[in-house]
Amino acid sequence: MELDINSFWIILTGALVAVSCSMLGSFLVLRKMSMVGDAISHAVLPGIVIAFLLSGSRSTIPMLIGAAVFGILTTYLIETFNKKGRLQDDASIGITFTWLFAIGVILITAFASNVDLDQDCVLYGEIAYVPLDLWYLDDGSDLGPRAVWISGAVLLYIFALVYFAYRKLFITTFDPAYAAAIGISTMFWHYLLMSSVSLVTVVSFESVGAILVVAFLITPAATAYLLTEQLPRMLTLSAIFGVLAAFLGYILASYLDSSIAGAMTCILGLEFLLVFLWVVLFKPKAKMKKLSA
């Protein structure tokens, strides 16, 4: 196997997506909202398809808007079913995302002739095509794959969010009551975080697909959480796990001739398994802590 420029672009895209996801995912895991993230990543599908149909192109901005709208809608529906409809929270998550995802699939099939989105691509992405879709300037020169630029921009946004709003995210995550008392709107940060999740999901659609983005959101964050109890360290560790998986996953995929995103997910799972075994077998202290807590 040789690592050429195409491999480089693919690994880079994977790594960019992985870092965005793992940083956001850390907050999801700490807020016990992993499954809301999972739900959003599925439920933005109709938003993307509708944006696609309205704009008639695969341009990024309408898709981001469509996804953000449906991300917020999903969050709102889950809350409404739960609070107003008195439906237990796990069921309201399950019902909301399956329903919206089903509508998305139906829309894709109904307009299949004029939509160049297919189910497989949406489900498990096709990161292998990343190097084929270049960003051309007017004079004909190219700036490299479009996906790299888009995922890079999203990563910058996530960095900015975490950097500038660190304190607010921290407080609303760990002590929402205190946050409310000192005048930080927990609602606002909740919805902002959820729309960021939908943003990341859309960007990941083209690379890792709707379902595996969940693996990138939750697994590195969960793995890092086993090793530390400090948020900055958890963010860093989860990003490292994500990047490592993007790299090793690509190698595994080219060795097995399989889906790259699937292979990256397997590496993420393997990382978790190793850390899990290490913590359970060699760190009885951590276990004691849980028992006494």
């Binding site: 499954m35 089903a102 189910q119 595996l212 693996a215 939750i218 292979a263």
Partner: protein
């Protein structure tokens, strides 16, 4: 409805198959729902994919029973992994579920693409597990799934009492000697089997809906587990039928997603409109109660003013009425109009006055208020300046029976703690 379409043999197979799958999943899923393990069903559904692929790699065959064997084993592994993660680490259930489902699914995709790329011709069809291909169901599948469904439902009936016990009060179940651990294993196995066969209809992603959405819909209509189970089964079967009919009528339409959309419409409809628990029902009930309280308060106001001026039937203008009490003018007009309909008030030009009937109602509210104040001071030993707010609420709620009891208990008192007269 034109029933001639049912003469199409393939459609009969498909709709019958999907209805059986839908009903079975709904009944098993009712217990997942009651045990608040709805999303574990989602994880099992995703975890089935690698099992199916592995069994294909090992046996090079697509026999439904072999596929099922693989599906059940990885489905079970997912349950055990989630349990192990929650038990041994500080991660919460939701993170464990999300992690397990995505990693197992990733493994499934890895295996599936490896099989596909290896160029084996007979593998085509494995990917039907992703979205489900109900339309391609053949009579062999129908027999296998039908038997499994019957077995599953039979077990649900046999162990119904035990399953209900472990769903609602596991400690009580333990205390009275139910083999809790074994029952949990049986129930989880049934869930895995229901998922493994249900996936044929709707695929991995949407399987969770087949399990929990009918149960959630049924929950809005009843408080009895047995009724809920049957209702869920009916919802599941009906949406299965609807899905297969839609994709028969419009062949390009996918069956699975339509089943899910129909079942979701059942659930959201129930959530909004079911009597008793539905959002709209509760809203209407609350509005009606608020309107009643408002009307009570208006009559009370008339009574108070009449009491003070020793003239109960004086006609009063809107501004007279808004002077003392904090009524919004709009609310007041709305209330007066509805009281007009029940002949509790009269309208004379621009002024309003109460009728004999209205006076009696107003008097009753005032009486209840004062009786309650007296009751609180005499029996609960609450200071007389602390009892007003409580009485303000309870006056709208006390029933005639309770009223009589209060009167007897307080020996038909003549005045309340503030030394105002209690009117009879």
């Amino acid at each position: 409805m034109d029933l001639s379409i049912f003469s199409h043999p393939n459609l009969i197979f498909v709709s019958l198959g999907v209805m059986i799958l839908g009903a079975t999943a709904a009944m098993v899923g009712s217990f997942s729902f009651l045990r608040k393990r709805a999303l574990i069903g989602d994880a099992i559904a995703h975890a089935v994919l690698p099992g199916v692929c592995l069994s294909y790699i090992m046996f090079q065959s697509k026999h439904p029973l072999l596929m099922l064997l693989g599906a059940v084993s990885t489905g079970w592994m997912a349950i055990l992994s989630i349990d192990a993660i929650v038990r041994h680490t500080k991660l919460k259930t939701d993170a464990a579920i999300g992690l397990v489902l995505s990693v197992f699914f990733g493994l499934g995709i890895l295996l599936l693409t490896t099989i596909q790329h290896s160029g084996n011709a007979s593998q085509t069809g494995l990917d039907k597990f992703l979205f489900g291909k109900a339309a391609s169901m053949v009579s062999d599948d129908l027999i296998v799934f039908g038997l499994l469904a019957i077995g599953t439902i039979a077990l649900l009936v046999v162990f119904f009492k035990e399953f209900v016990l472990i769903s609602f009060d596991i400690n009580f179940a333990k205390a009275i000697g139910v083999p809790v651990r074994n029952m949990e294993i049986v129930l989880s196995s049934l869930t895995v089997i229901a998922v493994a066969i249900g996936i044929q209809a709707v695929g991995v992603v949407l399987m969770a809906a087949l399990l929990i959405t009918p149960a959630a819909a049924a929950r809005y209509w009843t408080d009895r587990v047995k009724t809920m189970l049957w209702l869920a089964a009916i919802f599941g079967a009906l949406s299965g039928l609807a899905g297969s009919l839609i994709s028969y009528a419009a062949p390009s339409m996918p069956t699975g997603p339509w089943i899910v959309v129909v079942i979701s419409i059942f659930a959201i409809g129930s959530l909004l409109f079911a009597p008793g628990r539905g959002i709209v029902f509760r809203m209407v009930k609350r509005r009606r109660m608020q309107a009643n309280m408002r009307n009570d308060n208006i009559l009370k106001l008339f009574y108070h003013m009449g009491e003070r001026e020793k003239d109960y039937y004086a006609s009063r203008s809107l501004s007279d009425l808004t002077v003392n009490r904090h009524f919004h003018k709009k609310e007041l007009i709305k209330g007066l109009r509805s009281l007009l309909k029940t002949d509790a008030v009269l309208r004379i030009n621009d002024k309003w006055q109460i009728t004999e009937k209205g006076k009696r109602q107003g008097m009753r509210i005032v009486r209840l208020h004062r009786l309650w104040e007296l009751y609180l001071t005499r029996y609960m030993h609450i200071a007389s300046d602390h009892v007003h707010d409580d009485a303000e609420t309870i006056e709208h709620i006390i029933t005639p029976e309770l009223e009589e009891k209060l009167e007897r208990l307080l020996e038909y008192p003549v005045s309340d703690p503030h030394n105002t007269e209690i009117p009879y």
